[in-house]
């Protein structure tokens, strides 16, 4: 039996997603989750060619992977049925060559408990993390989206964040941190929300609250007036793979409507499928949770993750850790 090695985010580990592919192609898909592009690049750097076949990566980091020679050109994967805003050809290609395709997207914005806070306050970033909610805020523990939100709150487009903006962003972060009770990972943030530990999660979104919605419908999320950060993950074939065809088949499966529907509602976290045709395989409830119908509006008002170059990235991480540890 052939094996396919994929370096992925946790949503790909759902058997409901993988097993149909395994059966169809009689292969075993080995999955390794990772956190943070840096770790994935380091892992791939240290591997021998052929160790890995498929890579799921943050959309904004595709170019870094290409620079590092990690992704192979990807052709023949159709993006026709995709939401146009998330095809993001400029992100997924370098020098006109396509290396990856978007597979899933969603938002880092404000999640909150509608019973405990004034929903009107949540419609503005400035009021969402204001002193009014001191001690009732949790910040999602990933620097890029949160700093993106801070930038958006300060009127800086995420795509244009530069070293000069660090001070402004730092100031906003600091204020946010001052009002926050914790800086939390997924479960900690969910626990905090579910148990009333906090009422607002900055950086949250559908991926955070969807699983809680069934039991606590008062937990919801919104995209404030200033906008929010949009995340998108891409999938591509790793350079040097010994099974380029199988790898491409896998990519194709993931971006197919069925694959997309399964990925969107994967057990680890939910998110919008890049392929609009996936809607045919989703139930109405699922669509409601994903807010399928609001997507045109959301897509228009949100900005992609900041995509810092290596130096700026280090600076941003330092600033982030500095703020945590203050």
């Amino acid at each position: 039996q052939e094996e396919l090695n994929a370096l992925v985010w946790c949503d790909h580990t759902d058997p409901a997603l993988i097993e149909p592919f395994e059966q169809a192609h009689n292969v075993k898909v080995n999955l390794r989750e990772y956190e943070g592009t840096g770790a994935a690049l380091a892992l791939l750097d240290q591997s021998r060619p052929g160790d890995w076949d498929v890579l799921v990566i943050d959309g904004i980091d595709v170019f870094r992977a290409v620079e590092a020679g990690i992704l192979a050109p990807l052709d023949g994967v159709s993006t026709e049925d995709f939401f146009p805003e998330v095809v993001m050809a400029e992100n997924n290609s370098v020098d006109g060559v396509m290396y990856a395709v978007t597979e899933k997207f969603g938002y880092n914005t404000i999640s909150y408990n509608a019973d405990k806070v004034d929903p009107a306050d949540m419609e503005s970033l400035a009021t969402a993390w204001s002193d009014k909610y001191q001690g009732r805020i949790s910040i999602y523990d990933y620097y890029l989206p949160v700093m993106g939100l801070a930038a958006i709150a300060g009127g800086i487009p995420t795509a244009e964040i530069g070293a000069d903006d660090m001070e402004a962003i730092g100031g906003t972060l600091s204020a946010m941190r001052g009002n926050a009770a914790s800086v939390a990972g997924v479960v900690a943030a969910q626990t905090a929300l579910a148990t009333g530990e906090v009422d607002i999660v900055v950086g949250g979104g559908e991926w955070l609250t969807a699983v809680l919605a069934g039991d606590q419908p008062n937990l919801t999320w919104t995209i404030p007036a200033e906008g929010a950060v949009r995340w998108a993950q891409s999938i591509g074939v790793v350079a040097g793979t010994e099974k380029p065809d199988l790898a491409k088949e896998f990519v194709k499966y993931i971006v197919s409507p069925e694959g997309q529907a399964r990925l969107a509602t994967s057990s680890c976290f939910w998110g919008m499928p890049a392929n609009a045709k996936a809607g045919e395989f989703l139930t109405d409830e699922q669509k409601a949770v994903l807010r399928w119908d609001n997507q045109p509006d959301y897509l228009a008002r949100t900005q992609l993750y900041p995509a810092p170059d290596a130096d700026l990235d280090v600076e941003m991480q330092d600033l982030w850790l500095e703020t945590l540890q203050q």
Binding site: Y34, E35, G36, T37, G38, A39, L41, A42, L43, D45, A68, G135, S138, D141, Y143, A180, A181, S182, V183, A184, G185, V187, A188, T191, A192, T195, G196, E197, A310, D313, V314, Q317, D318, L321, E322, L324, Q325
Partner: protein, 281 residues
Amino acid sequence: MSRDTARGWGFVAPALLWTLAFFVVPFVVMGAMSLATLERREVVWGLSLANYAELAEKAYLWRAVLVSLEITLTVTVVSVVLAYPLAWIIAFRVPKRWQRLALLLAILPFWTSYVVRSYAWLLVLAREGVVNQTLMNIGLIAEPITLANTRFATITGFVHFFVMLLTLTIYANLVQLSPNYRRAAMDLGANAFQTFRHVILPLTLPGIVTGAFLTFVLCIGDYVTPQILGGNTELTVPQVIMVQLGRRADFPLAAALAIVLMGIVTMAYLACARWLRLDRI
């Protein structure tokens, strides 16, 4: 070399080689790595102190060292102070035939998965968790207080684990003492406290110090508990190391942090080497 010695080497060699290959060599490589630098995601070997300089420079790095030290020392002291009376009571107050059971009960939770145990504390300490509910029910507090996602939570999680561990070691130390020491002291007019202070404590000191040292080592190097319970509002050294690995794959800086951690443990070792009995656990 005599034949006996040659045979002896034969027996020791596998363990020794294993330790050399998978402990000493990695350790040395890590030391070397801490002197390398990261340039454009490539490790450049060399003899640079840049990582250590960065450590001294960046507040979040050196503060992590302080945070780790504070938490670890607190945990060690609190655990010993809580575990000693427990071990004492089990050894000297609980009737002989119930002692095994009491001890077994005291360490059974040890067998829940460590990761899950930390998570369980998160549930217990939550705003609507058991602790807050109880405190409110008995009227000690009016409003729930924030316990989860704090240093207090981290320390609680640690103390829970190490109290179990230390109770076991201290109990073992107490019962292996001849009961005649206690009898002799009392017979010569010492009261219970004096017996403890002048006789039992000094006699169990090596055991306590050994247990405390192991607590120190395990606690200062642990990533899971502060990550789950600490709320990320302050980072310990292992957390910072994992950030260096996970987000930016900065192995040299992570190695330098590890070396610093090792330095702290070594100092702790030297501080209590006089009483340590590591080869008799």
